[in-house]
């Protein structure tokens, strides 16, 4: 395969390199030189990637503020590593750490979830019964996996009856690898796909299909397997050049695909999956089924006044925010970061790295009574792994424009270097992000 043309590096390239390495983020808006002195009460709902990063950032930007982080989960999951676990490259232990390791000094951690958001009263109620009034709120609760929207599907089925899902936590990812190993021996029909909702890391189901094809080839059993990919849309990826590249890869790998197919039901006993199609329901037999559930904002968010009331993000209750400033238009003291934010694209950890400095800077400006200057451009990135050892570093913005950080790497060519980033570099960058040091 021909390699990319190597252009000489100039200073601009080096700066872009730093951005890609997580050293810098493409954020519009000036950084504040001194922390803001304020007695403000800041509540952060959700102690995942976005919540922890926001807590670390705000604890550096605010002096005297009371920062409360509300989230019940004590184990932290490095979700971008789930595909590595599900393809047998990493052990599941590599993607699990302790939430406590990332909590910035001075931040109070309430080990409960938010039961209710009451934005009119400027407070949240936690599942342990405590109430938390705030002057500023960051909603960072991520999204929920709506298994029940697929009839007959239950996450406890993952690892059994040929059912797999890389989305079902570290255990689900490890179970996916076990199911795949069995499938590599038996062969048969493998069904993959994506849900009709907004979803985190939309590249992951594609990565899965490509990675598992590669594993079958390594095992010498690809000839015994039939691979299918189903999407509810009329493309394989929402960014046109990436869609074209995936088409090319699927053709080269003999992966069949179909548009306008939404998984609606599973019958594990009969090993059949039913899809909604324009021609009516279609039931297919499978030996391996990779389920990616519909995703939505967590229930307390969905049921609050914070959710979009109309438009494309209303049905699943994503938080209404201005897509540039990440500020709520009706409750200006509220900001949303990460998967729960009702913005186009932006549901990756790489997006959190770019959103968090924007939301943090704007929240501080809000508390200081200043103009909000920082803006998020929709930056979303996903190393699209095409086989163990190779990946494409796909990055794009709101407009679906490719925004390659390294101008000398073709974002649509499979290379070892993006794979090395995925395998070795992105984990440390992610942890540095949680610690607020980048």
């Amino acid at each position: 395969m021909p390699g990319p043309a190597l252009a000489p590096l100039n200073r601009r390239d080096l700066v872009r390199l730093a951005v890609a390495a997580g050293v810098a983020a493409p954020v519009a808006g000036a950084a504040r030189a001194q922390p803001l002195r304020t007695p403000a009460r800041v509540v952060i709902a959700g102690a995942g990637a976005a919540g922890l990063t926001m807590a670390s950032k705000l604890s550096r930007l605010l002096e005297g503020a009371r920062i409360t982080l509300i989230g019940a989960r004590t184990a932290h999951w490095y979700q971008p590593g789930f595909t590595m676990v599900a393809s047998g490259v990493w052990p599941a232990t590599k993607v699990v750490s302790e939430t406590a390791d990332y909590i910035a000094p001075g931040v109070t951690w309430v080990r409960a979830d938010v039961a209710a958001f009451e934005p009119e009263a400027k407070r949240v109620v936690a599942t342990d019964g405590s109430t938390h009034p705030y002057d500023a709120l960051v909603v960072a609760t991520g999204c929920t996996l709506e298994w029940s929207r697929i009839e007959g599907m239950d996450p406890t089925l993952i690892g059994r009856e040929g059912i797999a899902s890389v989305y079902a936590g570290p255990e689900g990812a490890a179970a996916t690898w076990r199911v795949l190993q069995r499938f590599m021996e038996t062969g048969g029909v493998a069904l993959h796909g994506r849900p009709p909702t907004e979803m985190k890391c939309a590249g992951a189901p594609l990565k899965g299909a490509l990675l598992w094809d590669a594993r079958l080839r390594e095992a010498g059993t690809r000839g015994r397997a039939e691979l299918h990919y189903f999407t509810p849309f009329r493309n394989l990826f929402a960014v046109a050049p990436v869609h074209a590249k995936v088409l090319e890869l699927f053709a080269a790998r003999d992966i069949a695909f179909a548009y306008d197919h939404t998984l609606t039901a599973v019958d594990p006993a009969a090993r059949t999956a039913t899809f909604r199609t324009p021609d009516g329901p279609k039931t297919l037999r499978y030996d391996y089924l990779h389920v990616v559930p519909p995703m939505a904002a967590p229930q307390p968010v969905r049921e609050s006044a914070l959710a979009w009331g109309s438009g494309p993000f209303a049905a699943d209750g994503w938080v209404e925010v201005n897509r540039d400033t990440l500020q709520h238009p009706r409750f200006p003291e509220v900001f949303a970061v990460g998967d729960v934010a009702g913005v186009p694209r932006g549901k990756t950890a790489a997006s959190v790295k770019t959103q968090a400095p924007v939301a943090a800077a704007n929240l501080v400006s809000f508390l200081a009574g200043e103009q909000l200057e920082a803006a998020y451009n929709g930056y979303t990135s996903c190393p699209l792994i095409t086989r163990p050892g190779r990946a494409m570093l796909v990055e794009f913005d709101y407009e679906g424009r490719l925004t390659p950080t390294f101008p000398f790497i073709d974002p649509l060519a499979e290379h070892w270097v993006p794979w090395v980033m995925k395998d070795r570099l992105l984990g440390p960058i992610y942890r540095a992000m949680l610690h607020g040091s980048i």
Binding site: G3, P4, A31, I409, H435, S437
Partner: protein
């Protein structure tokens, strides 16, 4: 956020290598101290350099052979100029670092040059010139 902030780079390296960074820093400091000592003693640099270069080349060859495997990949996964460039730079860089680390030790082990300046006797010690 500051672009290219050295603190950010340090944070990423810290997350990547953890305590190993301190081991590397201690090794570099030790190599530097031994280098200064060797310079004062007037050692046989040329011979030491040859030995260190051979050692570095061996390390580089080992790294170049093992590097893809270290990243859960194989040499067959390297595709195009950039991949090969990074692979080469890492291999040669580690080889060079290994050579530099071993150089002063080798120099001291090989002993002083015949024309090395005589060391000044320490105060209070018996002098053979006396």
């Amino acid at each position: 956020m500051e672009l290219f902030a050295p603190r950010a780079l340090a944070a990423i390296l810290g997350e990547m290598f953890g305590g190993l960074l301190w081991v590397a820093a201690a090794t570099a400091a030790l190599a530097l101290a031994l280098c200064l000592l060797a310079l004062r003693r007037g050692v046989r640099w040329r011979l030491a350099l040859r030995g260190a270069a051979a050692f570095g080349a061996l390390v580089a060859a080992g790294v170049l052979a093992a590097l893809p495997g270290f990243t859960n990949a194989t040499h067959a996964d390297l595709a195009g100029a950039l991949d090969w460039l990074i692979w080469g730079v890492v291999g040669l860089g580690v080889g060079l670092a290994a050579a530099l680390a071993v150089l002063p030790m080798l120099a001291l082990a090989l002993g002083e040059r015949a024309d090395a300046p005589a060391r000044r006797p320490q105060r209070g010690a018996a002098s053979s010139l006396r």
